[in-house]
């Protein structure tokens, strides 16, 4: 939009190609990355998912065989289910907790630095370590459960990592611990960008604080929320190390996730074709989720 208005103001315009030449030159790294790496590698992956590549990528096509096998594999089905549960819970809780914390920190409180550092520090630790620490804390024999039992509540049972029905929530606890701090930080940066006059105006109008947040502030922070959303979603899709460190996918197959399936099939089973088929399905799922977003992005704008 701003391009057009600017163009009309300036009368001398060189050819289309050289218009915004500096911007185009500056975007060359991005264009190369997008086209060569992301599109290039994705196409490469998709093509190879139709082959019987084992240890090395090879172009011997076998049609949809890899996909047939994928969707008849119990482990993959369990993985997809887990990703859905983990993804939905993680998305909601990360956003809600992240926003509550950011809003609280934005209330001009004391010790803001201390609190922010406490909420953020888990992000400095790798998933491998996060998994290990939470594995201990959730250990029934010397972790949280035994601590509570020592206080006298001897029937207290909290052993998520060894219970196939709730193991994914055990992973969620660790995932939230590690990831919410960053989201809080991003939302806080967004809140800091909100004009003080807005707050002044709502105060004068006597709008309650929660309403101000819900109906004024959050809508204004849409771009920041999109950033947070993409960040969380990308993390969810790629969740791998945490599961490996905490449960190795167990008990049984109860906490398997798609990224782990891809990795294990590619490098442990040395069946690249199967791994590529699985990752292609992951890409398809991402597309399905992103379509509404892309539609809003383009569809909305083109019409006005």
């Amino acid at each position: 939009m701003d391009d057009k208005t600017l163009n009309s103001q300036k009368n001398k315009r060189p050819t289309r190609l050289t218009r915004h030449l500096n911007a185009k030159i500056a975007s060359v790294p991005m264009i190369l990355t997008a086209v060569v790496v992301f599109v290039g590698c994705s196409v490469w992956t998709i093509v190879h998912s139709f082959t019987k590549s084992r240890m090395l990528p090879k172009l011997e096509f076998v049609g949809f065989k890899q996909y047939d096998r994928l969707w008849s594999t119990k482990r993959w089905l369990v993985s997809v289910d887990n990703l859905l549960i983990y993804g939905i819970c993680s998305l909601i809780f990360t956003l809600v907790i992240g926003f509550i914390l950011a809003a609280l920190l934005d209330r001009k409180i004391r010790f803001e630095n201390t609190f922010r550092t406490i909420f953020l520090y888990p992000f400095a630790l790798s998933f491998i370590v996060t998994g290990l620490v939470w594995q201990w804390i959730l250990n029934p024999d010397f972790g949280l459960q035994s601590l509570v039992r020592e206080t006298g509540w001897s029937s207290f049972t909290f052993d998520p990592l060894n219970n196939p029905d709730i193991v994914i929530y055990g992973i969620l606890i660790a995932g939230l611990w590690q990831g919410t701090g960053l989201i809080m930080c991003i939302l806080l940066a967004g809140l800091r960008g909100i004009d003080e006059d807005i707050w002044k105006a709502t105060r004068i109008d006597g709008i309650p604080i929660w309403k101000t947040y819900l109906f004024v502030i959050i809508p204004m922070m849409k771009p920041v929320f999109i950033t947070a959303l993409v960040l969380i979603a990308a993390g969810i899709v790629k969740v791998y190390d945490l599961v490996v460190a905490q449960t190795s996918g167990g008990p049984g197959l109860a906490s398997e996730v798609p990224a782990k399936y891809v990795y294990d099939k590619m490098f442990l089973a040395q069946n690249l074709g199967q791994g590529f088929a699985a990752s292609t399905m992951m890409l398809v799922m991402v597309f399905i989720i992103l379509i509404p977003y892309l539609y809003l992005q383009y569809g909305g704008k083109r019409h006005d």
Partner: protein, 418 residues
């Protein structure tokens, strides 16, 4: 063991000979980068024997590229490096079928001339180890040790606490289980990772179905046998074992071994590497723990193990250095020093392991008697092995999978196996 100047010189003359120097006409000192996943105390000490041998016996330098996390982490690194055109000089691999494609693609160095000059064919025992390194009649890797899966480790403490005798075979083990459970112990310790479930099943299969049925399924890939009555018994036994393993609640194999060491569990089915854990804990075989090969039923050794491969490099000076290293790894002294530290059996039949402990000696006897079986890595492709892992980890962890169900799915995997 000290290497004197004298043995050093003999070693150099006998092992390395002049043939490799002659190949290139130069003995230029180079750095050899070696990747491997041996990072625990004993393993690192074993690798240090290789490094020492290379640094002391040649002008070359050992550059250590240790990556923890076993094959799953190291493999993509190695293959990326080879694809990236900048490979390491040597790399660890489980020998077997994993590397066939790399050889096919012409990325691996042919070691046949070293093997012939050193007479590997005559010294490697069992010869199947060298067969695993052979592809199209050429030799591409150096087997360095033998690890066997076929053991169960029993805690004397646990059985004493339960007031029963330490079992001497699988049937007695199952019979003694209720007493252990009454004493608040887990009869069978089993870690949660899939390769452990799968390994334990393999050991049960040999003990219960017998060697013939095992070979039919694993070597000849007979789906019929896999669906047949012998294997039915195996799956039924596994269902019983699954009950015994309830309450282990550990992930890593050594945590499971620790349950046996501390007497919290009766026993664990695990390969001979578990021995190192007992040693570190200061336990003595026969006094504090008992090891039964083949579950005390069929005394066999499976001949898995590790091997080193040498990616093709452009520089001829590097190639001759690689071959020197290959020859060194197989030499008598290095084999003895390495395997004593590693706790594995040497690949040469002509060395003397006096320092070996009781369990290791049992293993050596069985090996000498020729009661050997190939390892999973040698009979199945990684893909098939991984599918079996997936099935087994689900089966062992969940009562929902019946013996019949599991057997049917197992037979399907065997039918598709390659």
């Amino acid at each position: 063991m000290k290497i004197t100047k004298n043995t050093l010189a003999t070693l150099r003359n006998t092992c390395l000979g002049l043939s490799f120097a002659a190949l290139t006409g130069s003995a230029q000192a180079v750095d050899l980068e070696v990747t491997h996943w041996w990072t625990s105390g004993g393993e690192a000490a074993a690798v240090a024997e290789f490094a020492k041998a290379l640094n002391e016996n040649t002008e070359h330098n050992w550059i250590d590229g240790a990556i923890a996390g076993s094959g799953g982490t190291a493999r993509p690194i190695m293959i990326s490096r080879i694809l990236g055109g900048d490979p390491m000089a040597a790399t660890q691999f489980n020998h077997g079928r994993q590397t066939e494609e790399l050889i096919d693609a012409g990325l691996m160095l042919d070691l046949t001339d070293v093997a012939e000059a050193e007479g590997w064919k005559d010294v490697v025992n069992p010869t199947s180890l060298l067969d695993s390194c052979t592809y199209d009649g050429k030799i591409y890797c150096v087997p360095v040790n033998i690890h066997s899966w076929q053991w169960i480790w029993l805690s004397h403490q646990a059985y004493k606490d339960a007031g029963v005798d330490v079992p001497s075979n699988w049937d007695e083990f199952v019979a003694a289980a209720p007493a252990l459970q009454k004493a608040g112990k887990v009869p069978l310790a089993l870690g949660g990772q899939s390769w452990q479930s799968s390994g334990a099943f393999g050991v049960l299969a040999i003990a219960i179905a017998g060697m013939d049925a095992w070979s039919a399924v694993n070597v000849d890939k007979s789906a019929e046998t896999a669906a047949g009555p012998e294997y039915k018994k195996v799956f039924e036994a596994a269902v019983a074992a699954r009950e015994l393993a309830k309450g282990s609640n550990v992930q890593d194999w050594n945590q499971a071994t620790n349950l046996v060491i501390t007497g919290k569990a009766g026993g664990q089915i695990m390969g001979d590497w578990a021995q190192g854990e007992f040693q570190v804990a200061g336990q003595v075989a026969g006094e504090d723990y008992t090891c039964l090969p083949g579950l005390g039923v069929n005394e066999v050794i499976s001949t898995g193990g590790d091997a080193f491969y040498f990616p093709k490099l452009k520089d001829p000076a590097m190639e001759s250095a690689q071959k020197e290293l290959a020859a060194l790894m197989m030499s008598k002294e290095v084999q003895v020093n390495f395997n004593l530290k590693k706790g594995s059996l040497p690949v040469r039949g002509d060395v003397n392991l006096e320092a070996a402990n009781d369990c290791m000696k049992k293993g050596l006897e069985i090996l000498a008697g020729g009661n050997i079986l190939p390892d999973v890595n040698q009979v199945f492709s990684s893909d098939t092995a991984d599918q079996i892992n997936d099935l087994m980890v689900e089966f062992w962890a969940s009562d929902d999978v019946s013996a019949e169900d599991a057997q049917n799915r197992y037979a399907e995997i065997i039918a598709d196996a390659d």
